[in-house]
Every structure is written in C-alpha cells, then in structure tokens.
Symmetry: C2
Subunit: 328 residues, 2 copies
C-alpha cells in the first residue's frame, strides 16, 4: 500500500551502496544529500559463493538498520572493478584481484532478496558519478575522472552521460600506455600508467627501497614488523628522500601523460583526479599540462577532488538520481 | 526559379571539396557517390591574403567547370589542419605549417562569392567522415580514424557523430604521448606519436641514415639530387635494411600504443588507419593489440583503409549528406 503519511514524508530517502574491491567489501547506507550514515566493511571472501553470501548478509543487516534510522531505502548501487554491463547488472569480466568473477549476475539475487532495484557499474565509472553528484563535477557535461587508489580506474562523462564503450571497456584509464617499453602490468600489457603510478606500484617500489636500506630517513620511523605501503614512500619523499622523490615524480609524470592524452583525445572541459594519491600528483600534472598540452586543450581545469568516497557515493547516486528523476 | 525540368533531374548532385594543407592547396569537384570528377592543386601560398585569394580563384574556376559537366554544386566542404569551429566555419588556430592562420573566417568570403553553403572541419575529422561516407566506416556508429600522412591526425565518431571537444581540440591523435621522455614534437610537447611515426619524422630519420651512408641497400637506387623522403625509408626497410626496419618498427609500435589507448579510453567497435603509411603499420599494430589490449577491448576491428582521399571525400560528404538528409 502506498499511502502518504507523516512518517513517509519525514523518512530520509537513501540508498544502499556497495564497493566490491579486491581486498575489502564495503556496504554503506547513504542519504539523499550524500551523507554516509552507516558504513560496514569486511575482507573480500576468496570464492564466488562466499563473496555473494557475505554481500547478501551485509546488505540485509544494513537494510534492517535503515528501518531503525527511519531511512527509506530506494535501491542498491554497486561499484566493482572490471568490465560491468550496467543494463544487465552483470560483472562481465573482473580484475586479477577478483579471480573467476566473470559473467556474475549481481542484480537478480540481490533484488529478489531485498525487493529493491539494483544498479551495478565499474568502480572508476562510479567515481565519476560520485564526483558529478556530490563533488566538483556537479553540472559539468564533459569531464574525465582518474581514480588513483590501489589500482588506477577512470570514468568519462560526455554530454552528461557515462561512456561505457561497445564492450563495457571504456575509461579503463589505468591501462593506457605511457611508455613504449615500460614495466609489465598486471593486465598483461606493458607501460601502463598503473605500473608506474598506482598504490600497488608505489608499494612495490617502497618495498624495494626498504630492502636496499634506502627508505628510512631521519624523522621517518617504522614499527619493526610494520607492513611497507605506498604511504611510506609518499612520507619519505616528503621528508626529502631523493630516491623516493624520483619514484613519485615518475608516477606523477605518467599520470600527466594520461591527462595530456585525454585532453588531446576528448578535449573535456575538466579532468578530476580523485583517490588517495591525487594530492601527491596534482601539481606535477598541472605543470606538465601547461608546458606540453596544445594551447586550446590546456584551458581544461585539472582538479584534485577532495571527495572522500567517490565510488561509493557514485554507486548511491545511481539509485538516488533514478528515484528523483529518471535519467539513467 | 526552382522548377523541375529534365536537365535538373539529370544533373549530377556534387560538391566542391577543399584540402587546405601546409604544402598543397587542393580543390576537387566530387559527385554524390564519391567519384572525384576533377582535381586541381597548387602550392599553398605563404601569406593569409594570397592563400585566401588563391582559394577563391580555384573555387571559382571549378564552379564554372562544374556547369560544363552538368554538375549541380550543392555547397563547399573544406578540410584543413588545426583547430576548426565547424559551426562558425572558422579556423581557430592552425598548425605550424600554416603560420598565422588563426581566427580565419573561411565561410563568409566563399559563400558570398559562390552563393553556396560552406562547411569547414579539421582534416583528421574530415578523414573520419570520408571513411564513414565512402569507406570502411559506413554504418559504424563508433569508430576512430588515425590519419598517417606528413603529420598524424585523427577523427572520432561516437553515436554516429563527430566528437569536436569543448575547444574544438578533440581527436588531435598525432599529439598523444606514447613515451615519458621521447623526441621533441613540433607542437612543443615531447613523446608525441607524430614525433615517431609521421611522414615528416620518417623523412628526418631517412635523411640521417643517408648522411651516415646507411640508407642505400643493393636494389635500392637514388638519383643523385633526389630529395630523401619517408618512401626511401619504407623502401629500404622492405629491402632488408635493418636500421630502416628498426625505425619503421618503432613508428608502428608508437601507433600501436595510441590504438591500445583509444581501445581502453573509448572502446570503439572499429579503429581505421588511413593515409599513405597505414599499410606499413597495420600488421604490427594488430599484433600488439592482440598481445597487450584488455580482452574485451581487443575485439575491435583494426583496419587499414584503402580510400585514396579520405579528407577530401569527407569534406565533400559534409555537403552531400546535408543536402540529402539534414544530419549535421
Ligand atoms: Ca572505468
Ligand atoms: Ca582531429
Ligand atoms: Zn595494464
Ligand atoms: Zn606533438
């Protein structure tokens, strides 16, 4: 029964958003204006069956929690790595981190359990939607997002709509080549920007420096069995470690090459770097664009988004925007 | 008076097409089905005034010729290098070869002289239109053209329409970076594919080999003061000259990097190499795509177009398609 009562009006329109990553599986309750009310996280189970049942379990818990918070859940939005068919709600082909996660229908099991509409899209695409709905992409009809996290993803909005490509493989910016030789990449290619500039790539370099005894600098400190991550490299570079600075600089130059290429291929009005490494790269990227991009393309605004959870917010916006005005 | 008489029906619908290049200025009379009936060519005059008056003169001559050939000219289509505003019919900013050719309104003087509608667009974009109207892009809604001639240009068709970009700088594929360092490029950038793979780049390499005495091979011959061009390099490579083969291979690898990037950014269903160097690069490009592109993106068809004058035909198609059905 769909009667209008005061509770109904006072209910907060919201969405369940999922970030299905290689290492972490996160589910959040996100309210219409982009506020993350509740967020739950679990290591991503290794097998398909465990992964699906863990996801259903976390969604059911949060759906109940939503009722107690007087939130009216309008649907479920899922952000995940790899190639996604958003019309079918199917993960076509996933990344290395989610082995064997291919041709997986996420929509049917979730919508039949929760009786809610379900949207699914690639994580980089969701980051672009998040930047558009709640970040510095608001009202911008043509922009590109480069999401620099463990891996590097991307999302392209032209004429106000995401570009998915003929096989749902558009905006795979992490695997754009920036070098004719260059290091091998997880994807099987060589010279991809991911192999130079992703969190994983920086972590490997930090590990190498550490083993050479070149990572630690005065002021930098390391608990004895602390796991080496990209953060240690960024920190060492900040503290003046020349080797660390060279690696960060090369990473920034690789991202800058991708940005120049995007400006010369798509000539968007804005390029948004998001994700934890964006602040470390933004200045070098801007300088190289100013120096190397064609004059008319160099007018584009290059911005580091300060949005905390772009992909999660983007997944939520798939639900919230559909519910408020049917644009999808 | 617009009366229907037998002559009018028997008249061949046609267009005046212009290819305004850095070295050659060409004007052609092209009939509805893409047949080039007449083609005239002149060295491109150095100053803006001389260039404009030479263009008007050549167009007037061909317009008269058309009458004698019972052709009904429906309009003028112009293909030229640099950034072009197709709505205004204005060259915004031209390439190095056409110094000072900026903010030039080509539409007004020509349409007032000939009382015909005038279309103008970037040469790479016109090549894509030519491939779509008369070549292997027919009926394909999303494809990218890479035009390899003296320079390297590009054209992108998505959803059946050309992508121009916010500052008319989209599809400037010649200046996409394929290397983090790499040779300087005419555009002021470094590592652009043009600096590795254009006719001009190959000519410079051929010149260098010749000066080192490494260009000539048995079977290859050279008139004493014959000007060294890219053709000599292609020929030397074909005859087994290892140094020449290495240069051609690097050029093909650079183009292959651009193709892989286009597949991972736009994921089009087809990539068309056109221009005189396309046959020399196509095999290496296909092999690298098969080896390095993401599986779903590697389905794209990579074709070397055999179309003789893609840009000229594309300029004509601007006129002919508008006249037959208003799609522009
Ligand atoms: Ca993406
Ligand atoms: Ca172009
Ligand atoms: Zn890769
Ligand atoms: Zn360049």
């Amino acid at each position: 029964s769909h009667h209008r009562d005061i509770d109904h009006i006072l209910e907060r329109q919201s969405a369940l958003a999922v970030d299905l990553g290689g290492t972490q599986l996160r589910v959040a309750l996100i309210e219409n204006h982009g506020d993350i009310l509740v967020q739950t996280s679990n290591p991503t189970p290794k097998t398909n069956e465990e992964r699906m049942s863990k996801l259903l379990e976390m969604l059911m818990n949060l759906a109940q929690k939503a009722i107690s918070l007087n939130c009216r859940v309008l649907g479920v939005g899922i952000s995940t790595g790899g190639r996604v068919d958003p019309r079918g709600g199917v993960v076509k082909h996933s990344t290395k981190a989610l082995e064997g996660w291919s041709e997986v229908d996420l929509r049917t099991p979730i919508s039949s359990m929760l009786h809610l509409p379900v949207w699914v899209d690639n994580d980089g695409n969701c980051a672009a939607l998040g930047v558009r709905a709640f970040g510095c992409g608001k009202g911008v009809e043509d922009f590109v997002t480069i999401a620099t996290g463990t891996g590097i993803g991307g999302g392209i909005v032209l004429g106000g709509r995401l570009i998915h490509g003929t096989d749902f493989c558009a905006a795979e910016l992490g695997h754009t080549k920036v070098s004719l030789e260059g290091p091998p990449c997880q994807c099987g290619g060589t010279g991809c920007v991911e192999a130079y500039s992703s969190g994983l790539a920086l972590q490997k370099e930090a590990q190498r420096l550490h083993e050479e005894g070149n990572l630690l600098t005065e002021g930098g400190h390391l608990e004895n069995n602390e796991k080496i991550t990209a953060k240690h490299l960024v920190e060492a570079a900040r503290l003046g470690n020349q080797k660390a600075q060279d690696i960060m600089d090369r990473g920034a130059k690789a991202v800058a090459s991708v940005v120049v290429n995007l400006l010369h291929i798509l000539n968007p009005s804005r390029v948004v770097l998001c994700g934890v490494l964006a602040p470390a790269y933004i200045e070098t990227v801007r300088n190289i664009v100013k120096k190397e991009a064609l004059p008319s393309a160099a007018h584009a605004e290059i911005i580091a988004s300060t949005l905390k959870e772009p992909a999660l917010l983007g997944a939520a916006s798939l639900v919230l925007e559909y519910a408020t005005r049917r644009i999808y």
